[in-house]
């Protein structure tokens, strides 16, 4: 039995490593996944068994008692300001959904899970800003992305669950070619064509976790989430005539990192203090120091020979641009504490009720922006609360349970001054801070 259990555990993880999932730079790091978990400050790595285990700890999937389907929605609105002016950072909003399908394989508890966050407006967004332009680096664009993950988990012994999966992302490489005749006197008569030849190449990274029950009331967990970066390797060529004057050739090669998610290690614990009170704590180490600035390294070739007789007086041709020196972003590793508590004040035969609260603190990983770059960030204190209700066997057709969970989270980004070393800096000193509201719900049908 023991060797079989080990075999199945290893086999499951091996399968997990080949099992595809898609996960982009992660809005769930900031806003949580599932209302119960968001309300508890994300401190659930040792206390999760529903669809959100796909993100918090895949091992938790093997704790599910039956098939579960979950569906919900959340919306996070940013109220972030610099020098008292609202910065119009777009909200993050969209549905969350997931499946947990437990069963037995070789008579050992086994589970398969899927988790999804699908933004309302888009799957992902590319927004390019120069390194000098102020932006909330961790909130402006990184969270505007799809999250989709699949995992497998087993429980070879009642006190141990292990799980994992392999997520993949897409890096980009390709060529764009525009050719023909650009008529600068009558643009709509330009004789231009274009060609695109590009691949999104697969980037894979692992995620895995384990949970150990130390007793009936105490459990600990460890989770690893791999790092990924999305390279952009692009070549573009524009060549042809600038009618009626001359010819033009423009070639560009850009190498950059479009998105970067640092690796993370989570260590957590869960304690059932009484029959109706549970307390959790997670500590997440985030390898922010590996972060790569999302600014492109460029090589440009521009050739527009002057026409015979020179350019007309009213036309100033473009000149060969000088190379941009990309200033690396300096970031520091951080240990992010998450705390959560869950009370069960209502426990009847057909209905149970829950009250939850949580807190997390992330010290800003970004070094003070005293130079030409303006990657704004501030320390974040996130306070959360939530309610839950569980209906037990509400209908003959639903012999399991139906759960509804609500959450609200307030993130306070403390006001602070960014002071430039160069008094002639074009952006200058600025005060920045604000808060973020995150509210949502999740419904789960358990069979």
């Amino acid at each position: 039995m023991k060797s079989r259990a080990v075999f199945v555990s290893v086999a499951t993880l091996a399968i997990g490593l080949f099992f595809p999932a898609v996960a982009h730079a992660n809005p769930l790091d900031t806003f949580g996944f599932g209302s119960r978990e968001a309300a508890m400050g994300g401190a659930v790595s040792a206390d999760v068994s529903d669809f959100s285990a796909n993100y918090y700890n895949p091992a938790g999937l093997a704790r599910a008692k039956g098939l579960e389907l979950s569906f919900g929605y959340f919306r996070a609105d940013h109220f972030l300001k610099t020098n008292g002016r609202e910065n119009s950072v777009d909200p993050v909003r969209g549905l969350v959904a997931g499946i947990v399908a437990p069963g037995k394989l070789f008579d050992i508890p086994f589970a398969f899970g899927l988790g999804l966050h699908l933004p309302d407006d888009r799957i992902s967004r590319i927004r390019a800003l120069p390194q000098t332009e102020p932006r909330w680096e961790l909130y402006d664009n990184r969270n505007q992305r799809l999250y989709l993950a699949a995992n497998l988990a087993v429980s070879p012994w009642p006190w141990l669950q292990v799980g994992g999966g392999l997520s993949f992302m897409a890096a980009t490489e390709g060529t764009l070619d525009i050719s023909g005749d650009a008529n600068i006197l009558s643009p709509q008569n330009s004789q231009l064509r274009h060609e695109v030849d590009a691949d999104l190449t697969a980037i894979r990274y692992p995620q895995m976790g384990a949970r150990i029950a130390l007793s009936k009331k105490t459990a600990i967990a460890v989770v690893y989430r791999g790092q990924f970066q999305l390279d952009l390797d692009l070549r573009a060529k524009l060549h042809g005539d600038l009618a009626p004057f001359t010819t033009a050739f423009y070639a560009l090669e850009a190498k950059s990192v479009d998105a970067f998610l640092p690796q993370q290690v989570v260590v957590g614990g869960s304690w059932e203090l009484t029959d109706r009170i549970r307390a959790n704590a997670d500590f997440t180490w985030v390898n922010w120091s590996a972060y790569i600035s999302p600014v492109a390294n460029l090589a440009v070739d521009l050739n527009i020979p002057p026409p015979q007789g020179g350019w007309p007086a009213n036309i100033t041709p473009p000149t060969v641009p000088t190379p941009t020196k990309v200033v690396p972003i300096a970031m520091h590793d951080r240990l992010v504490p998450h705390l959560g508590v869950e009370l069960e004040p209502l426990k009847l035969r057909k209905i149970e009720g829950f009250v939850r609260a949580g807190y997390e603190y992330q010290k800003s990983p970004i070094s003070p922006q005293t130079g030409i770059t303006n990657y704004i960030d501030r320390d974040r204190h996130a306070f959360s609360a939530g309610l839950g209700v569980k209906l037990l066997a509400p209908l003959r057709e639903l012999p399991g349970d139906v759960r509804l969970d609500l959450h609200a989270q307030l993130s306070e980004l403390s006001n602070g001054m960014t002071t430039k070393t160069d008094p002639s800096d074009l952006v200058g000193d600025y005060m920045a801070g604000g808060h973020i509201w995150n509210v949502g719900f999740t419904t789960t049908v358990g069979f």
Binding site: A101, I123, I178, D181, L234, L398
Partner: protein, 464 residues
């Protein structure tokens, strides 16, 4: 200018991301391993997660949770010969991972054992998606080669309604990109830009139904599936008109990266204890296909016939694909069952035999000219072959007494393989000159098309 370059790079990033539109290799080869081994039939007999594509109504046949994992690959040997033609037209081999799951919903009461959910995905191993829109004079089997190089995802829900009637719905999802890039000179004299582009989801519905009736010597089932048109466009405008005193036109970098036509599949299948026979046809609405490329310069609304180059319009035709498939079940032991499968389908080409020329700019002559439109395709005869094994639990004997009975299902493991050979029916297409005989490319005239495609796949599954 440095700001402008950075933004331009970002634009190209978005333009390429646009090609992250996905398509369906399943439209070329079928989905899973059982259906592709049986001539691409399945609207009346699909099993497991394959039904999420073939006919979601048949997901309701599944009464056990099953997870499947496998791989699929294809190699191309395509040729275009004739004056000015390259002979061999190279395409990278396709290879990818198949993943599927079917999850019966354990409702109680009147819904018991009636509803199941299924999902399936094919993801290439090396790439997620290939977006290739080439100049029309480049030889290309555009409806065949790169269409297999993309992620395909299908989800479905099937219900056993009553008295042999089953219905199902599902969808396929792709991503497309829209956005704009405005490059301009700001007040300080620096060149800056605004890049805003996003990937958005586009969906196509799948609706299916089936009706089955017990006969004296087996079961007869009729199935029908509608799959909506699935396309992934990209469209990004670059506006550099305010960049300098040069009156640069607005570039419309746009096209259709991937496209599956709307389809209706109708099929009948007869099955008894040992045999499954299926016969059907799929109607594909190719006449709505607008072609892959859009003009680089859009004419203003008040000047619809401006002098900008326009991509040539090709009249694609609707097609009807006949299919036949057979599955022979052989019970070797109580815990081991083998399957042998064969099938055939004929895929007519939607491409006409006369292909009009495309406009291009002749720089040395400083005039518009015509080039051959080398969009190639030919009808395909597809022979399919496959096999499968259903196996019992090898650990059963080590289980304590009484545990064996609880272990379900009887044969929880399966292994299925298939192979296909697509033989292009030799065909001659005429690459026409311009409307007034323009064009001096040696490639105008006839091109003879031949080729084969080899496909293989394998899946292992486990019920849990």
């Amino acid at each position: 200018m440095r700001l402008g370059r950075a933004q331009l790079a970002a634009f190209f990033a978005t333009a390429f991301a646009a090609t992250s539109a996905h398509a369906s290799p399943e439209d070329l080869f079928g989905f899973g391993t059982r259906s592709p081994a049986m001539g691409g039939t399945g609207a009346a007999h699909a099993e497991g997660f394959e039904a999420s594509y073939d006919n979601p109504a048949l997901l309701s046949l599944s009464h056990e949770r099953r997870l499947s994992l496998g791989f699929q690959g294809a190699t191309y040997s395509l040729s275009a010969s004739g004056a000015g033609e390259p002979g061999h037209v190279s395409y990278e081999r396709a290879k990818g991972i198949l993943v599927g799951a079917v999850l019966p919903m354990p409702f109680g009461g009147v819904l018991k054992d009636r509803i199941a959910f299924g999902l399936g995905a094919y993801t290439p191993t090396d790439i997620v998606v290939r977006g290739r829109i080439l100049y029309p004079e480049t030889p290309q089997f555009a409806l065949l080669g790169d269409r297999s190089q993309s992620l395909g995802i299908r989800l479905g829900l099937g219900a056993d309604v009553t008295h042999g009637l089953r219905v199902g719905v599902g969808f396929a999802a792709l991503a497309e990109l829209v956005g704009e890039v405005i490059v301009a000179t700001d007040a300080s004299g620096h060149v800056g830009s605004n890049v805003d582009a996003q990937l958005t989801a586009t969906y196509a519905p799948i609706v299916g139904a089936s009706y089955e009736h017990d006969l004296a010597h087996g079961l007869l089932r009729i199935g029908g599936t509608f799959r909506g048109q699935l396309d992934a466009r990209f469209g990004v405008e670059i506006d550099g008109s305010k960049l300098s005193t040069l009156n640069i036109p607005i570039f419309n970098i746009a096209g259709l990266a991937q496209y599956d036509p709307a389809e209706i599949a109708l099929e009948g299948a007869w099955a008894n204890r040992d045999w499954t026979l299926a016969l059907g046809a799929t109607y594909k609405h190719w006449s709505s296909y607008p072609g892959p490329i859009e003009p680089t310069i859009l004419c203003p609304p008040d000047q619809p016939d401006c002098g900008a180059l326009q991509p040539t319009k090709i009249k694609y035709s609707d097609t009807l694909v006949p299919r036949v498939g057979v599955d022979r079940k052989i019970e070797m032991t109580k815990s081991a069952v083998a399957h042998l499968r064969v099938g055939y389908w004929f895929e007519p080409s939607p491409l006409p035999s006369q292909i009009p020329a495309s406009q291009a700019w002749n720089s040395p002559a400083q005039t518009t000219t015509y080039v051959p439109t080398r969009f190639f395709d030919a009808s395909r005869h597809v022979l399919t072959l496959g096999g499968g094994l259903e196996l019992g639990n090898p650990m059963k004997h080590s289980m304590p007494p009484g545990e064996e009975a609880k272990s379900r299902p009887e044969r929880p493991f399966n292994l299925d393989v298939y192979s296909q050979i697509h033989v292009l029916q030799p065909r001659t297409v005429t690459l026409e000159r311009g409307p007034n005989g323009e064009g001096d490319d040696p490639g105008f005239g006839d091109a003879k098309l031949t080729g084969t495609v080899l496909v293989f796949g394998m899946i292992a599954g486990a019920a849990f």
